[in-house]
Amino acid sequence: MSGRLRFWFGIGVFALLVVCALGAPWIAPHDPLEQDLLATFQPPAWREGGSADFPFGTDGLGRDILSRLIYGARAALTVAVVAAFLAGLLGTVLGLLAGYFGGWIDALVSRLVDIWMAFPPVLLSIVLAAVLGAGLHTVVIAIVVIDWTRFCRVVRAETLVQRNQDYVVSAMTIGLRPGAIVVSEILPNVMPLLLTLFSLEMGIAIVVEAVLSFAGLSVANDTATWGSMIQDGRQFVNQAWWLMALPMGCIIVTVLATNALGDGLRERTDPLARTARR
């Protein structure tokens, strides 16, 4: 797929996700939590015995799959945006401080990152989730606590590079305070990288939600998330494979889209890549 096409695929999926998330109550044909015990395991409409009433069928409690997928988009997008933003904020602040000031701050932050990297990330998130208890806020906290290092490492390295550029030296010469230099000179130059990381992190966040649901640690039963739908469907995979396949498809398409979006943003915002494309 060409770069341009991929970028628009990313934009398109993301837009669809936003529409589903904001308009869930109006788009979804049913209440995602409404159980109909007389209509459990209905096959999707295109299979024998399916009805147009439940386009993607129903699950073991007779809940409409399509409606659950749409409400699941709401949970996914919320987790993705909030978690990626907070992880980005924490990682960027620490990365800027470590990269710009160096010395003991850098030593401290770098050691912290090292220790963090020695944890198996999945295990750490599961331990955290077990500690914090189930809920979407737990998913968000787990992602922030684990993935700030991604932002921190990249921002620190980039700040080290930017710090030695002429424009930073000029800013020092005219007597700008360090805080002002970091915020108004270096940060804008790190921004393109941050955008890309942010987009990638959104995809990761959605997968982490699925992982925690898989371990039975994500949300209580009163929220429809793609991860919990996969976990529900896994138990019936031999009778009704689509119960697991549909939410998995949603996650895979979303993750591919956030990747495409990230790559596209990098190409469009990085001056070097921009000139290389011409």
């Binding site: 990297m117 944890f119 198996p120 331990v127 699925a210 995979v237 494979w241 993750v255």
Partner: protein, 335 residues
């Protein structure tokens, strides 16, 4: 790598491991919810509960508990698992070989397919194989091992059931293993039927772990190989009349491998960490599977032991990668 450098790196690993130990220990102690309450039978008296608490040392303060635990760890004693009522060290030792075999098969798969795909993309530059490799590395990088595992179960276990999707070895088979390293043992003792059976169970989880790394490797090898092909030494080889495939495999690849080794090193730890989920998905009896079980059961000694085991594995892998790197690239040997 000089011995002094190696020793210094080894020494630097100590504070890292200590940091991991402190964080996981404290994190687990501030949890509301008592691990002891998971194991008391109904009708236990208050005195029984107190006895149990002191047996596992939960009646002491956190710093005291930590000092005791670290002292035991130094002596090679990781404590007793609450949920399995077994020595943690022995549990880890019996499960670790299964995980190591899985990781080994996965890394071999990843490196072999990653290198082959990267070379193919350069060999058939601007033709359809390159497009396929590009597509593969894009998708392979985006989708994590967890989703690959579920996809394989869905497609090869349920829709077209041709491979087993759980366990390590069919329990009906007779195989009295002397060691927990089933695969190596079967290979050495010439039990090829067992080897085949083991590989059938290994292939899907190993593939799920390997795909993201294979995709990343294919991309890196392709880029650095394409760059190497423009260098003077390749031109020289061409002038000497070497065949195109010989130039690719023998001359250019050697130089393109250095960034690939770095990448493999960074990603290898992710691969090992991925066993936590992949082993659970495929009900494979390794330490990853055990770890999820330990967390769900709130088995503090077991969680601590396993996190520490993973951290030691990660540190060891990083050291190994550094050593390989300096063997391949003379320029970093200086220090």
């Amino acid at each position: 790598m000089s011995l002094a450098y190696f020793l210094r790196r080894l020494l630097l690993a100590v504070p890292t491991l200590l940091g991991v130990a402190v964080i996981v220990f404290v994190l687990l102690r501030v949890v509301p919810g008592d691990p002891i309450s998971m194991m008391i039978p109904p009708g236990a008296s208050a005195a029984d509960i107190e006895n149990l608490r002191s047996l596992y040392g939960f009646d002491k303060s956190i710093p005291q508990q930590f000092a005791l635990w670290i002292g035991d760890v130094m002596r090679g004693d990781l404590g007793v698992s609450i949920s399995q009522r077994q020595d943690v060290m022995r549990l880890v030792a019996s499960r670790l070989p299964a995980t190591l075999e899985l990781c080994l098969v996965a890394i071999v798969l990843a490196v072999a397919s990653g290198v082959a795909l990267g070379v193919a993309a350069v060999y058939w530059r601007r033709r359809w194989p390159e497009a396929i490799v590009d597509g593969f590395s894009g998708v392979g990088l985006a989708i994590p091992d967890f989703l690959w595992g579920l996809l394989f179960i869905l497609i090869l276990g349920v829709l077209i059931p041709i491979l087993p999707v759980s366990g390590r070895l069919d329990p009906r088979l007779e195989f009295d293993a002397a060691t927990p390293f089933y695969l190596f043992e079967a290979l050495i003792t010439g039990r090829l039927d067992i080897v085949g059976e083991l590989l059938q169970h290994l292939i899907l989880p190993a593939l799920a772990l390997a795909l993201p790394l294979a995709a990343a490797l294919a991309r890196v090898i392709k880029t650095s190989l394409a760059e190497a092909m423009n260098q003077d030494y390749v031109m020289l080889a061409r002038v000497k009349g070497y065949s195109r495939s010989r130039i690719l495999w023998r001359v250019a690849l050697r130089n393109a491998l250095i960034p690939a080794v770095t990448l493999t090193g960074v990603q290898f730890t992710f691969l090992v960490g991925g066993t936590v989920l992949i082993e659970t998905i495929f009900a494979y009896p390794g330490i990853g599977n055990l770890a999820i079980h330990a967390v769900v059961q709130r088995d503090l000694p077991l969680i601590q032991g396993l996190v520490l085991t993973f951290a030691v594995l990660f540190v060891a892998i990083n050291l190994l990668v550094d050593a390989t790197y300096s063997m391949l690239n003379p320029r970093v040997r200086v220090r």
